[in-house]
């Protein structure tokens, strides 16, 4: 299925958010996730099922003022 990851369309076979992060290369990274605009805590990622056209944001620590 096709999902939008950080603004870019990606093809994924993952059924849930935890599996998608592994597949997309985020394994072991310090990131926070939001699915369709809602924060998904790390401990709920495996329970967050993905659907066609879902919008996923994967954010990490960055410089800030």
């Amino acid at each position: 299925m096709k999902i939008l990851v950080n603004g870019a369309w990606r093809e994924t076979g993952a059924a849930d958010l935890a599996a998608a992060l592994e597949e997309l290369g985020y394994g072991g990274s310090t990131v926070a996730t939001a699915l369709n605009g809602e924060f998904v805590p790390a401990n709920l990622r495996a329970a967050a099922a993905l659907a066609e056209d879902d919008r996923l944001e994967v954010l990490a620590p960055m410089q800030g003022g």
Partner: protein, 257 residues
């Protein structure tokens, strides 16, 4: 000592981590500033590059507290969601809450700010709202549960110093017991000294240090400026007056006409 929420800080200077020429210069500038708090943000991470992981490792090695921001958020929902994500990633309930209302000046949207602050304080966040010098907005942010306010000196990155001196003095006088941190607009160390002389509790600097020709030296200059301002405030500055007052004793002046 400055107490913000339940944390005591020795340094009155907080430093932003953005726009430095290199990570090494950033690290050196943080050390030179003697800041105990640095601001950070959350941005999109690429699964291939993982740029954020290296930055986070560098910040953790500095041994300072982090104050995550919600920079770039224009709505209550964006700011609240970003704050929740930041709490998980950075492991802190501190959040520098920004809800931007206008893009040319990055003017805070104080209405959205209040709503977001109310939600986040209710969820146990310790909110540092980036606001204006507006007294009514300040009062409502405190009512929403904020225990610190971060009024702007001037628009972010403008380097204009304390734009509305009267408004900032009124804010200080109106809330004598609330920690007030001047956030944004400081351009040179004398601006920071002025803020501390007026009785503000701390300043947050980013662009003025990061974009200086020598950021490390400028960080040191700001550290000294803040310390000078604090000392001056404690020492009790004189009031300005319109006419001259001779500083040398008049009695005993020779008549040599």
């Amino acid at each position: 000592m400055l107490k913000v929420y339940d944390t005591e800080l020795r340094s009155r200077l907080m430093l932003g981590t953005s726009r430095y020429p290199s990570p090494a210069v950033l690290a050196e500038a943080v050390r030179a500033s003697r800041a105990e708090v640095v601001t950070v943000s959350l941005r999109r991470e690429s699964g291939g590059e993982r740029a954020g992981q290296g930055f986070w490792s560098l910040v953790r090695d500095l041994g300072v507290r982090v104050l995550p921001n919600t920079a770039g958020c224009h709505s209550v929902k964006e700011a609240v969601t970003t704050a929740r994500m930041a709490r998980e990633v950075f492991g802190t309930s501190w959040i520098k809450l920004e809800v931007i209302g206008e893009d040319d000046t990055l003017h805070p949207d104080v209405f959205g700010l209040m709503e977001a602050a109310r939600i986040l304080c209710g969820e146990g966040f310790q909110v540092f709202p980036y606001t204006t010098e507006d007294l009514v907005a300040a009062d409502k942010l405190l009512a929403a549960g904020c225990r610190v306010l971060m009024p702007w000196g001037a628009p972010i990155g403008s380097g204009r110093g304390l734009n509305n001196l009267f408004g900032l003095k009124a804010l200080r006088a109106h809330f004598p017991d609330v920690p007030l941190v001047i956030d944004a607009g400081i351009g040179v160390p004398s601006h920071a000294t002025q803020a501390m002389e007026l009785g503000f509790d701390a300043v947050l600097i980013n662009t003025a240090v990061a974009n200086a020709a020598d950021p490390v030296r400028m960080a040191e200059a700001f550290a000294q400026a803040v310390e000078a301002g604090v000392a001056a405030r404690q020492a009790g500055p004189i009031e300005p007056r319109d006419l001259a007052v001779p500083s040398t004793p008049v009695i005993g002046t020779a008549i040599l006409r």
